[in-house]
Amino acid sequence: MDKILIDPALPELASFSPEASFQTGLSFSRLEQQITSLDSAIQNGVKHVLCTTGSPLFQVFMDQPGRWPFSLAAVVPNFQQFVRDTSHFGTIGAALMRVKKMSLFQMMRMGLFCAGYILQVLQMKFEILMNTFLMAEMSQLFKTKKLKIDQVFLHPQMTDLALALGRSDFFPLYVKVVRTWGSTPGFMTRNFAPLESLLKRTGVQASLMAPFNPKGYGMNPSREECEKAREALSSNPQIPVFGFHWNLPGVGTEESLAYATRLKLNGIAVGLDSFL
């Protein structure tokens, strides 16, 4: 089972306590600390890193592309930044801030994408507007060709919002947008069973990442339903399944690992601080 190193800028995936996240963030404010941890992770056989746009860790990879042989994945949007921007500037203001950072070529690409769905754009359909927003955010990931982003996961809050709204058209469109950038799409979710069911209905194939732990925390609607959904996907190599929140405080690591192994997860998320 692979280990996926989590960016400290994604505290909602790597930690349970804001205080602990703050301390981890402080440790990694030193560049040498990040580099040491990445070196250590490589020596320990870690092959994947999951980061988010605009984070200090992402900047390390931007500044030193090719230094580490990791397969890089990213989470969009940078949710904390997204919440702050939408609170202060509204959804449209937040989108414009991202568009301003795009290159002319990237803007043209986005314009072409919107032109293909002009009726839906005029109708302000959620699936088009949100994917356009995500396209603008993703442009930051693909600014340099030196850095290859192998996978782009959608943040669980966004995946679950689209699920809650019942916007099934959103999912194939997101897959299309990510593939436009030459990357592999993925969805993170706290509603693994309903998402699995939707993907089956719509024929969408993408990597999935969700909480899997012996306590059933974050496994909605229930641990049993999520286990069944995982089982249903276990023979489909087109939809690898990764786990986060697999190792809860108060639950032994051995027990948690045994559970993840029993579910045949393709990988589990580990904090960068594990390699300090």
């Binding site: 505290p11 909602e12 349970f16 306590s17 804001p18 205080e19 996240s21 703050f22 963030g25 402080l26 904390q80 919440v83 702050r84 939408t86 609170s87 202060h88 109708q123 302000m124 359909k125 959620f126 507007l129 669980p156 809050q157 679950d160 919002l161 699920l163 809650a164 709204l165 019942g166 916007r167 706290r190 509603n191 309903p194 732990n213 306590k215 059933g216 925390y217 974050g218 909605n220 609607p221 229930s222 809860l248 405080p249 108060g250």
Partner: protein, 351 residues
């Protein structure tokens, strides 16, 4: 099952969030949406809410005939929303805080009290629905740490780091800065766990604009005191971080978003000295999450479900306007004390 007819007013961040939760409650039907900004009509329809949109609340009530309304407007607008709903006998959930001032909150409560058949009323203090907070309340009431002697609470958030624009900067509309917007959660929790303090003394700090960014103070209760500190300008806290430590005659309790722990002393009459800890996953999942989509904040879903099920039941929701008014009193006391250079303000003075 007859579905309850629910409407949402105000399509800011919280309005859209409540709409997404409500869409997944099987016992309700969303019958109308209202916002003064009519350009949002297309957006909410594009999100899949194929329901009538109104730019006036009166029209919404007259036409859509909701049994209950979720009002997610800035607190300065809550009195007029409450007045309209009460006149029509419509149940009303107000996003917190209850109002932009204590006098406004008093008017809302007075209108409710004089109503011949008061409809259901709720306030958005979702921490009352967090299992860890409910467990902490139960343990305090059972005397798990003996008599409370002191507490210290804080909420830290990394949100405001420069001069801001918009309604949040206008206290007449927002009710204030960090105390009203963020700190009211901590004030609610203190009241929820320990009851109203007798006196509050406080100081506020303005870093960037016309409303306060940091506040600290001291709360006097009968026989003990507590301290509080709130800031929305603390780098590194992308999520709101709650911390509450309570010292009692027989033990010590710590409560945060992710953990509750109790450490009992040798003095405890019925327990051996030692520590116990609870995590969110130690509690059974609310029924509401076993049906719909979890949007990552279970307190909100439980809160909306609780309010909706209280409509027409004769039962008050867990957090009603009465509790909202008491929290408003605490907010007002903080601002009163600050204006008087930190002088202690008795909550009775504010009656």
């Amino acid at each position: 099952m007859t579905k309850k007819r629910i409407a949402v007013i105000g399509l800011g961040k919280m309005g859209l969030f409540h709409l997404s939760i409500l869409k997944n409650l099987p016992e309700i039907e969303i019958v109308g949406i209202s916002d003064q900004n009519t350009s949002l009509k297309k957006m909410v329809h594009g999100m899949g809410f194929d329901v009538p949109f109104f730019d006036s609340m009166d029209e919404l009530i007259q036409t859509a005939r909701p049994e209950g309304i979720f009002a997610c407007v800035p607190p300065g607008f809550n009195p007029s929303v409450a007045e309209t709903c009460l006149k029509q006998g419509v149940a009303l959930f107000l996003e917190k805080p209850m109002a932009a001032s204590l006098s406004d909150a008093r008017k809302i409560l007075a209108a409710l009290s004089s109503h011949p058949a008061p409809p259901a009323n709720g306030i958005g203090y979702m921490m009352a629905h967090y299992p860890l907070c409910q467990q902490a309340k139960k343990l305090i009431e059972e005397g798990a740490i003996g008599e409370i002697r002191h507490y210290r609470g804080s909420i830290l958030l990394g949100d405001v780091f420069k001069k801001q624009e918009g309604w949040r900067q206008n206290p007449a509309v927002s009710g204030g800065g960090v105390v009203s917007v963020v700190g009211s959660h901590l004030l609610f929790l203190i009241r929820f766990l320990l009851g109203l303090p007798e006196e509050i003394s406080a100081q506020t700090i303005h870093l960037f604009s016309s409303v306060e960014d940091i506040a600290e103070g001291r709360f006097k209760h009968a026989g003990y005191f507590g301290e509080f500190y709130v800031s929305w300008s603390r780098p590194g806290y992308s999520d709101m971080a709650l911390q509450l430590s309570l010292e009692g005659t027989d033990g010590f309790m710590e409560l945060s978003d992710s953990m509750l722990s109790v450490h009992t002393f040798e003095s405890h009459p019925s327990e051996r000295p030692g520590s116990r800890v609870w995590y969110p996953w130690d509690f059974s999942k609310p029924q509401v999450l076993q049906q719909g989509i979890d949007l990552g904040r279970p307190g909100y879903a439980a809160q909306d479900h609780d309010f909706v099920s209280s409509i027409g039941s004769g039962r008050a929701p867990l957090v009603s306007w009465k509790e909202g008014y008491e929290v408003q009193k605490m907010i007002e006391a903080v601002y009163h004390s600050q204006k008087q250079g930190g002088r202690p303000v008795s909550l009775k003075e504010l009656e």
